[in-house]
C-alpha cells in the first residue's frame, strides 16, 4: 500500500531532534503496551508482517500524529480482536465476556529469557533456487500492491546490483494476510544514491536495501 508509513525520501518532516538521556519508556504504559505485544505474540495467532500491516492501516493523519507506542496499542487491539483472542465488547468494557473460559498464558516470567534468546527467525531451511547472484545488475520491480509490502516506493523501478545473498526468508506480502510463507531468497541490493535521487546526491554514496526475489527483475 502506498501509505504514509513508506517515508523514505520525503523532505518535509522537519529536523531530527535527539533527546538527551532518553529513558527506554517515557511513561509506564508504554512499557506495558510493549510487553503485552510480546506476551500475546506467544499465542502465535499472527506474524510480524501482519503486526506491521495493522500499524500501516492506521489512517495517515493519525499515523503522523500518534506516538510510536500509541500506534502499537492501536495495532495490538486490532490484532487481538481480528484474530479472535478478545471480543470488541471486552475491549470496551475491560471485562471478559460472561461465560468465557480462562486460558493459560503461553509465556511465563520464567520463560521470558529463553523466549527472547530464541527469537522468532523468519529464515526458512528449504531448498529454493536463487533468482540472482552476487554482482548481478537488477532492477526493483514497479509494483504497487494495495496490501503489505517491504519494497519502498523510492526504490521501485531503480537499477541496482546484488551485493550479497542473505538466504531464504518468509515473503512478507502474502504472510501479512495469512496467505502462506512463500519462502524465497533475500538479497542485499546496492543502489547508487544518484540512481535514486539524481545529481543532488554525491556520486560515491549509496543506499542498500534487503529485497526478496519477487521484488526484483534482471537488468
Amino acid at each position: 500500500m502506498n501509505g504514509v508509513h513508506d517515508m523514505g525520501g520525503m523532505q518535509d518532516m522537519g529536523p531530527v531532534r535527539e533527546e538527551k538521556n532518553e529513558p527506554v519508556f517515557h511513561h509506564p504504559w508504554e512499557g506495558r503496551v510493549f510487553a503485552m505485544y510480546i506476551a500475546t505474540g506467544a499465542w502465535r495467532k499472527w506474524n510480524i508482517d501482519a503486526a506491521r500491516y495493522m500499524r500501516e492501516l492506521i489512517p495517515p493523519a493519525e499515523y503522523l500524529r500518534m506516538s510510536y507506542y500509541e500506534k502499537w496499542y492501536a495495532g495490538l487491539v486490532k490484532l487481538l480482536e481480528g484474530r479472535g483472542l478478545v471480543a470488541h465488547g471486552e475491549i470496551e468494557s475491560g471485562k471478559p465476556a460472561s461465560g468465557s473460559s480462562k486460558a493459560t498464558p503461553p509465556l511465563t516470567a520464567e520463560q521470558v529469557p529463553t523466549a527472547r534468546h530464541r527469537g522468532a527467525s523468519t529464515s526458512r531451511d528449504v531448498p529454493v533456487a536463487a533468482g540472482f547472484k552476487a554482482g548481478q545488475p537488477v532492477r526493483a520491480r514497479v509494483i504497487n500492491p494495495t496490501g503489505h509490502t517491504r519494497l519502498p516506493r523510492y526504490a521501485r523501478g531503480k537499477l541496482g546490483a546484488i551485493h550479497r545473498d542473505h538466504g531464504v526468508f518468509v515473503f512478507p506480502d502474502g504472510n501479512a494476510l495469512f496467505q502462506g510463507e512463500k519462502p524465497q531468497h533475500v538479497y542485499s541490493v546496492r543502489f547508487a544514491a544518484r540512481e535514486l535521487w539524481g545529481e543532488q546526491a554525491k556520486p560515491q554514496d549509496s543506499v542498500y536495501l534487503d529485497l526478496w526475489d519477487d521484488y526484483l527483475e534482471p537488468a
Binding site: 531532534r17 500509541e70 495495532g75
Partner: protein
C-alpha cells in the same frame, strides 16, 4: 476463507482508524498545553492500557509477572552496552573482528547476545573513507539484543524519511560533518536483517582495556550518526 481474511483486515482497518481518531483528538488537546508534538500522551492512554492489561490477565491471555519481566529486561538488562562490548572486542581482537564481519550472528553470540529482533545480524565497518548509517524507512526495525529498544528520534518521521535522501544533512543535525570525499552507505532495514555499525577506533586509545574501550562506544556511534570519541575529544567538542 480468503474473503474472511479480507473482511478481517477491512474491519480491522476501519476500527484501527476509529481508535486512532479518538486517540488523536485527545492528543491534540494535550499538544496545545505543552507545545511540543512528539511523545504527546493522551490523558487517557494510561487508563486504556491498564484496562487492556487487566482484561488480558483476567482472560488468562498474559501472565502479569511475564509483563513485568519483559519491561525489566528492556529497561535494565538489554541495551547499547551490549553492542559496545561487541565493538570493544572487535577493536581488541583482529580474529574476532574478522568473524564479526563475516558471520555476525555467531560472533555476537560468542558474547552471549542474540535472539528477538536480532536473529540475523549484519555488521558494517566504518573506515576513514566509508561511513555507514542504519535506518528503517518503513517502520522502526532495530537490533534489540545489542542496542535495546530504539530511541524516539530513530522512530520519528524526520529520521525515517530523510536518512536515505539526505544522509549528510541528517548527520549534520547530529553534529557530524563528513568530508566531501567520504563514501556514505545507508542501510535501510527492509527485511529481517538487523544492522549495527562497527565504528572507527579513535586515535590515542592503544593502551586501553576492552572494558575501557567499551565505555567510549555510544549508541549513536553503533547506529552510525556519531563517531566514537575519546573522553578528551568528547570534552573539547
Amino acid at each position: 476463507m480468503q474473503s474472511t481474511r479480507r473482511n478481517f483486515l477491512t474491519t480491522a482497518a476501519g476500527a484501527a482508524g476509529a481508535a486512532a481518531a479518538e486517540l488523536s483528538a485527545s492528543a491534540q488537546d494535550h499538544e496545545h498545553e505543552h507545545g511540543h508534538s512528539h511523545q504527546v500522551v493522551p490523558s487517557d492512554m494510561a487508563l486504556r492500557v491498564k484496562s487492556l492489561e487487566s482484561l488480558l490477565v483476567e482472560k488468562g491471555l498474559v501472565d502479569r509477572a511475564a509483563l513485568d519481566a519483559l519491561v525489566d529486561t528492556y529497561e535494565n538488562k538489554v541495551g547499547p552496552r551490549n553492542g559496545a562490548q561487541v565493538v570493544a572486542r572487535a577493536w581488541s581482537d583482529p580474529a574476532y573482528k574478522q568473524r564479526l564481519l563475516t558471520d555476525a550472528d555467531k560472533a555476537i553470540g560468542e558474547l552471549g547476545f542474540g535472539g528477538q529482533q536480532g536473529e540475523h545480524m549484519v555488521v558494517v565497518e566504518n573506515t576513514p573513507g566509508v561511513h555507514n548509517m542504519i535506518v528503517c524507512t518503513l517502520c522502526s526495525c532495530y537490533p534489540w539484543p545489542v542496542l535495546g529498544l530504539p530511541p524516539v528520534w530513530y522512530k520519528s518521521a524526520p529520521y525515517r524519511s530523510r536518512s536515505v535522501i539526505d544522509p549528510r544533512g541528517v548527520l549534520r543535525e547530529f553534529g557530524l560533518e563528513l568530508a566531501d570525499d567520504v563514501e556514505v552507505r545507508v542501510w535501510d532495514s527492509t527485511a529481517e536483517l538487523r544492522y549495527i555499525v562497527l565504528p572507527e577506533r579513535p586515535a590515542g586509545t592503544e593502551g586501553l582495556s576492552e572494558t575501557e574501550l567499551a565505555a567510549l562506544v555510544t549508541r549513536d556511534s553503533l547506529i552510525g550518526v556519531a563517531k566514537v570519541q575519546t573522553r578528551r575529544q568528547g570534552g573539547a567538542a
